[in-house]
Symmetry: C2
Subunit: 232 residues, 2 copies
Amino acid sequence: MFKTMESTPENETKAQRTRALILETALGLFREQGFERTTMRVIARQAGVSLGNAYYYFPSKEHLVQAFYGRTHAEHLEACAPVLSEEKRLGRRLLGVMRAKLATIDPYHRIAGDLFRSAADPESPLNPFGPESARVRAEAVSLFERTLDGSDVRLPKDLRDELPTILWFWQMGVLLFWIHDRSPRRRRTDLLLERTTVLVVRLIGLMSLGVMRPVRGSLLRLVRDLREEPAS
Amino acid sequence: MFKTMESTPENETKAQRTRALILETALGLFREQGFERTTMRVIARQAGVSLGNAYYYFPSKEHLVQAFYGRTHAEHLEACAPVLSEEKRLGRRLLGVMRAKLATIDPYHRIAGDLFRSAADPESPLNPFGPESARVRAEAVSLFERTLDGSDVRLPKDLRDELPTILWFWQMGVLLFWIHDRSPRRRRTDLLLERTTVLVVRLIGLMSLGVMRPVRGSLLRLVRDLREEPAS
DNA sequence: GTCTATAACCGGATAGAC
DNA sequence: GTCTATCCGGTTATAGAC
């Protein structure tokens, strides 16, 4: 932070390099050995630093996971870009975005259970509903905003405002299913995804109808109220 | 099991009493001190047994949690009985059952996060979707069956068959929210509950209509398909 | 074969010296 | 910023008592 950097020829400080090295080592080991089985000691040893040093950069094993989230989200954005720019039909766009998500995280399916386990704790910084995740969450929601806005479907304003959040919940549900999915090549998740996408699009259509005003009203008010006060 | 019990004046064996003692001690400590902060060593000491002995009866801390589940489910059934026998309106019945659930587990709200954390792991025997939980799950679903059947609402058969499972999912969602709810006296959960109950009843009404046949069809088929093959 | 006790082991996390 | 030495608690091994 307040370092007087007199002589760092590279465009990275030593600290940054050490940090990156530890993170790379950790992610590699997580993917190969699993999360629980990868101990902090092994990460440190393989990265060539001491255990204490690893904890200097990442205050807990969970903090390594946060870094992981950031990375896969960036990859997801990249993987989404084509379908978002080329496709107009809402169903296709949603399916494309969700499939890209699943494809991005698929290499980490083994450890998804462990990660989710940490994330499930309300006190955990990894808790997707918690304040520490606000930023990632907002980015994920805004991705659905773009998915909606770039489509050929016109929505009533009230629905348009809350729908991205609802779709994010849908994504969380699909991910929850994916985590528990033991079928070969995660076929069941894909089934769930295809079927629910159709339903979602159909429900959006239904909810846009005049008759649905009252139901839609209560639903949207509910989502808004619950979203406003972000727990605690 | 195959014990030749020649002389046990009490209707409990010593083993049963020891087991019960450890469980009681553990649950009490969990409630007072929290789950993580209650160590197996303290449980054992306070119960007046050795650490090894505690592990003899409960192979892991998670097994204590399973016992806890069984207990609260039984309490829930008891707490539901009045509303189920006295009330005919579906909304009231659902609300009563759900409120009874929340009331039953409320003393354990502090530790709910930790418990949920264990339960979130797909490999964990506590995972509510896993095979080890099949029995509890079936009981919970059948409670919703009774909630529906005793009401004054008549449902199309296809809906009636799948709805209990769907309501169980709803319950899981509410519980998830409850776990993360930090508002005083869990007001936000109650808000969610009241509002979603109205929605659920309304949606059931809507879904029973002729126009909804196609949507209902896909929805129910989806639930059925995903339910059939119980992961793995 | 049922039960109890003691002494480790292992890995996440911390303290404090340099 | 980096290290070594420890702590702490879940879990296991094992020895033996009833």
